[in-house]
């Protein structure tokens, strides 16, 4: 027994630095959610003698008229992002797979995958410039077709859809490549057999391609469910402005403003805690479903 332990000891030692890091930078902040139940005064410190207020912070938030709006914005923006973010890459992967020319196929893949790697700071800067109503190239282009100027980033009717469209634009290349990789794994013999039986393009897509990647579709859908309350902080933060708070403010940006700008630490932590609990439930369920239906295991 003792020799076994000695043989194992190096393995435990290897884990030590990583464990120390996650305890310091993940678990201690997790303990910090107690701020949600306090009237937190930063000067007294995280583990200092703070005044406990029970659920006051939660109550306060629930009664804010803007909170319902923020919750609604979050769900609306993220669910549309999720749905389009699943369907559009699927369609593109199927269309790309139909291309006969490998040169075009590879070039298209390269081009659509590029925005995925750029930060929302860079993309935010680009979008602010090209979508501007004064001299932005998109409005100029629309003007050629007689469309009057649209203030994409400053108009409450347009802002959420601008967020959704630009998110899909940034990320669909990634999804396309995942689906395409799955399609490549389908046995080509199936297509040949179908061709001999007289199947056309649509038959083959419907009866071979889609069933062939069904598992990947299920897996991606299920895993994305866990992200329902993440409507995209990086993106919104870089694109929004006070005039579109009404339609574009999401939980994460709300937490940032009430917490760090208004210094209402307890209230902001309460909102964050609420979000984390629901997200945890969603993510755990999505992992459970992914295991159930797609035999997906993370470890």
């Amino acid at each position: 027994m003792r020799t076994k332990l000695r043989k194992e000891l190096p393995l435990h030692l290897m884990l030590l630095p990583g464990l120390v890091m996650i305890i310091l930078f993940s678990y201690v902040p997790m303990a910090g959610v107690m701020i949600a139940f306090q009237k937190f005064i930063p000067a007294k410190g995280l583990f200092g003698d703070q005044k406990w207020v029970g659920l006051d912070n939660f109550e306060y938030v629930m009664n804010l008229p803007s909170f319902t709006q923020v919750l609604w914005n979050t769900l609306f923006i993220s669910s549309l992002k999720l749905i389009l973010g699943l369907i559009i890459p699927l369609v593109f992967a199927i269309l790309l797979n139909e291309l006969a020319s490998n040169v075009i196929k590879r070039s298209v893949q390269t081009a659509i995958y590029l925005p995925y790697f750029l930060s929302w700071v860079v993309l935010g800067g680009i979008l602010i410039d090209i979508l501007s109503p004064s001299g932005g190239i998109v409005n100029e282009f629309l003007g050629w077709f007689g469309v009057s100027k649209i203030f994409f980033l400053g108009d409450n009717d347009w802002f959420p859809f601008t967020l959704i469209a630009s998110d899909v634009w940034k990320n669909f290349g990634y999804g396309t490549i995942v689906y395409l990789a799955a399609i490549t794994g389908i046995d080509p013999g199936l297509y040949e057999a179908a061709t001999i039986d007289g199947a056309n393009r649509w038959h083959k897509t419907w009866h071979i391609t889609i069933p062939g990647i069904r598992m990947v579709i299920v897996l991606l859908s299920v895993l994305s469910l866990g992200q329902l309350l993440n409507a995209g902080f990086d993106q919104v933060f870089n694109l929004y402005s006070p005039q579109v708070y009404e339609s574009g403010d999401i939980l994460d940006t709300f937490v940032y403003r009430i917490g760090l700008l208004d210094a209402q630490y307890g209230v902001a932590t309460a909102v964050g805690f609420f979000k984390s609990i629901i997200s945890l439930t969603l993510i755990s369920s999505s992992y459970f479903l992914a295991y159930r239906f797609a035999k997906y295991r993370i470890f």
């Binding site: 075009i104 590029l114 932590t269």
Partner: protein
């Protein structure tokens, strides 16, 4: 029936499909090309909206101006330091955590406890305020360590690498152990060399992550001199009012407009990614296939 083995025919639909896909690809890269064109155009041409996809009155003026700012070089240095410390640290910890976790539970006591401890950090976090407060209490604000330590263990990379380690034949490890190598030696002399492609992928993940991060810099650095490049760009391109940059001095130059200046900064902020893109794409495709479609 000569087309039996060629399911991809050349017909009207194919042409339509190819045209559509090419148009969409253009939609993905033209905005970037437009910004580059604006950044190299004269202030007058850019303000008048003459610039489309090619610079008008070609000039380096906005780049000269950006590069003459000490803030720009300072933040570039912070970004490079961040990558220089952050990426090796990420890789080292990923290897050290992934190797023990890739063992069976009878070979490592408490394996599943460890695995869950790491996994939970992907599921739950304290939220913004507790995170900020903790880092403040550690005295990390305004230090480079605030940018590299909180993300030191990239759990997703650990998962990818441990799955990769499991594919390595057991015999190799057994042979090493019989020859008297300890676990540390085995990791270093056998697992690391075999895993070079996977490690290269993870290194790229980490570098892109560090390069693109901006919010932690903005939040944790009180002094703008400590901003990494993306945070610096965020403050001047996205936030309108700048305290630390004199706009009057900028307007005095008259050769550059706000628009060309911002465009040049956007381009500089994405330049390393664009340059590394051929490698990035190749490795990331492998990486995401490794990570997402397993199972």
């Amino acid at each position: 029936m000569t087309t039996v083995h060629r399911s991809k025919k050349f017909d009207g639909i194919s042409v339509l499909n190819a045209t559509f896909l090419i148009l969409v690809s253009l939609l993905c890269i033209l905005p970037l090309i437009h910004i580059i064109a604006v950044s190299f155009s004269s202030s007058a041409a850019a303000s008048a909206g003459y610039v489309r996809l090619w610079p008008v009155d070609f000039t380096f003026a906005s780049y000269m101006y950006t590069m003459s700012r000490t803030e720009f070089w300072q933040s570039m240095l912070v970004s490079l330091t961040r990558i220089g410390i952050g990426t090796p640290l990420n890789l080292l910890l990923t290897i050290l955590v992934a190797y023990p976790l890739s063992k069976e539970s009878h070979a490592l006591r408490f394996r599943s406890v460890y695995a869950w401890a790491f996994f939970v950090t992907m599921l739950f976090n304290g939220g913004l305020i507790p995170w900020y407060t903790t880092l403040k209490e550690y005295g990390l604000l305004d230090s480079i360590w605030a940018l590299v330590l909180p993300g030191a263990v990239p759990v997703f990379s650990v998962v990818l690498l441990l799955n990769f380690f499991r594919e390595i034949p057991k015999e190799l490890e057994e042979a090493a152990l019989i020859d008297g190598a300890g676990h540390f030696r085995t990791v270093w002399s056998i697992f690391v060399p075999i895993s070079k492609p996977a490690l290269a992928t993870l290194a790229l993940f980490s570098m892109v992550e560090h390069w693109n991060s901006w919010f932690d810099g903005l939040l944790l650095m009180g002094n703008p001199a400590n901003y990494p490049l993306q945070s610096y760009i965020q403050t001047i391109v996205i936030q309108q009012n700048l305290s630390n940059m004199s706009r009057d001095a900028m307007l005095d130059l008259a050769l550059i407009s706000d628009r060309t200046l911002k465009s040049s900064q956007i381009f500089l902020g994405s330049l390393p990614i664009i340059l590394a893109y051929p490698f990035l794409q190749k490795y990331f495709v492998k990486g995401i296939v490794l990570g997402s479609v397993k199972g």
